[in-house]
């Protein structure tokens, strides 16, 4: 899988590249509108992470160009602006997702994977891990072909773990992914822990061969 990061801030660009390299992607970077235009016209990417506010041009114009050339690259807009209008404009122009700065790298990872999953032809929106199978369309989990009943939030938690498997997940990245703005209080981490305990129990009862490891004060890690 080949990814392009279009971001003028070196720090952010390096962070994203470093993180995504570990996911076995081929990562290329462009620091300006100009550089990005060149890369896009020369190569195809599976996913482009596009910063809207570039110093030498609006990232949305890059998106327009991409669509006018009938290119099928997936685009995730990364913006410092948290406005519904911008989001809608980006999505209307054909972007696949919209992420507001600052974001957690695990969240970015989940978004990229979701986009790539939808792109994969024929495979359905399904992820397999060990003896588990997650269907993102019907939002169901089966272990050894037996369906395990999970509630909405439990599925979200597990899905987030699965796409970020073998990586450390910082606790509030999980909280934000699953509960959004409703959960930004440190007092609530006990609650998240209790939710994960329930999930673990369900997985264990159905014989899923994975482990959700809690790292005290930091977060969680899913290992197979």
């Amino acid at each position: 899988m080949k990814l392009l990061i279009v971001e003028d801030e070196k720090g952010l660009r390096d962070n994203i590249a470093q993180f995504l390299n570990k996911e076995q992607y081929i990562v290329e970077v462009a620091a300006s509108f100009q550089a990005a235009t060149e890369k896009i016209s020369l190569y195809d990417y599976d996913c482009i992470l596009l910063d809207v506010g570039l110093p030498d041009g609006n990232g949305l114009n890059l998106l327009r160009e991409l669509k006018s050339k009938q290119k099928r690259d997936n685009v995730i807009i990364i913006s410092a602006k948290d406005s519904l209008d911008d989001k809608l404009e980006g999505l209307e122009l054909g972007a696949d997702d919209y992420l507001t700065k600052p974001f957690h790298l695990a969240e970015l990872n989940a978004r990229i994977k979701a986009v790539l999953r939808r792109k994969a032809l024929g495979g359905g929106n399904i992820v397999r891990l060990g003896n588990m199978q997650l269907d993102f369309d019907s939002r169901t989990l089966s272990v050894d072909s037996t369906e395990v009943h999970l509630n909405r939030k439990e599925f979200d938690i597990l899905a987030f773990f699965v796409v970020n498997k073998n990586r450390l997940i910082y606790k509030s990245a999980l909280a934000e992914h699953v509960w959004g703005d409703h959960m930004d209080n440190a007092d609530n981490f006990d609650f998240i822990y209790s939710q994960i305990k329930n999930l673990r129990k369900k997985l264990k009862n159905h014989g899923a061969n994975l482990e959700i490891q809690a790292i005290y004060g930091v977060g969680y890690k899913l290992t197979v």
Binding site: G11, P102, S172, W179, D181, D184, N185
Partner: protein, 422 residues
Amino acid sequence: MKLLNHTLLYLSASLIFILSIWAVVFYFSMMDEVYDSIDDGLENYKMLIIKKASRDSTLLQKNRFDESNYAIRPIPRDIALQATEDFRDTSMYMEYDEDYEVVRMLTTYFSTPDEQYYELKIIASMVEGEDLLGDLLHALVWLYVAVIASAFIINNWVLRKIWRPFYRLQHELRGFKLGVDKTFNPPQTKVAEFKDMNDTVAELLRANIAVFQQQKQFLENASHELQTPLAIAINKLELLLEQSQGDDAQQLANAIHYLERMTRLNKSLLLLSKIENRQFAAEARIDFNARLQQQVADFSELLHYRHIDVEITDEAPLVRYFNPDLADVLITNLLKNAVVHNHDGGQIRIVVKADRFEIANTGAAQPLDAEKMFARFYRSSDSSTSTGLGLAVAKAIAQLHRAELTYRYGGGLHRFTFRLPS
């Protein structure tokens, strides 16, 4: 005191003074004229009597006033020659009044052709000074009242007319809200002074609005600019976290935690300035009953975990035009507030009526400071991680939609009421 009454007060005070002086001058000049006129009459009469006496000597025998108004008596030549004509006021018994009345008397001397000398006294009835003074005073009081009354009426009419541009400006200014109104249009007038005042006020407000806008814009830009460095710092620490273990990892996690708190603060500030900059113009029909239900459902796991019992009573549908994003932020913030400041096993009671909804929660046993509660960065002591902006944001959202957000403590519950204008 109104301007009208001010003028009237000064007018009545100065009028008393002016009218009093005028009355004194008037009295004396009138008395002077009266004396003058009577004395002239007496003088004329004197000449007529003397002329008549030279023709009809019987007149010279009339030495008592009786029914007429003169008396003649002979006097020795040497006294007559020394005496001078003299006017004076004296009193005389009047049959009609049955009392002594003031009369004017002319005492003069004349001689007949046969060298006989006589003293002639002529009287004329006089105005009574005291009566005149009383009348004058009476008239003066009425005059004063009449003048004040007409001044009041004229003043009222004229002032209202003349000051109309001023009152209009006053009205406009009273309705003006810095931060809400983007421009100020002073009322038009042709009066130079008001025009000048209007222009000055308009200029002053223009400068104020500009400064206010700049400041708001600055806050928004500053918050905006902070997002990227925050993002970089958080992500760098996340990458480092993956490579760390044990105590190091915890220290890093702690650092991220504080950066996240800063991010939340920053986001709330950004949201606040965006609300105040009116960047949430789009409105849609919002079903508050449904949104409340939805948001409570979103909180359900947390509520369940903390054994907080939620009861929603839909007394009436509350469907209004509102910004959809802000409706969600408003409800989230209020619900979050009700959860965070609650105790485990507590209660949340939500009541939706036709023009309002109330979110009431258990929590601290005493009422909170309703004054400070909606202020920015106000935090009750028990929560160190909240931004202190949640309720300030909710209040700003209410104000943007001309709604009211109020707090009261009653029945052991902290009650937040959001009331939309009808």
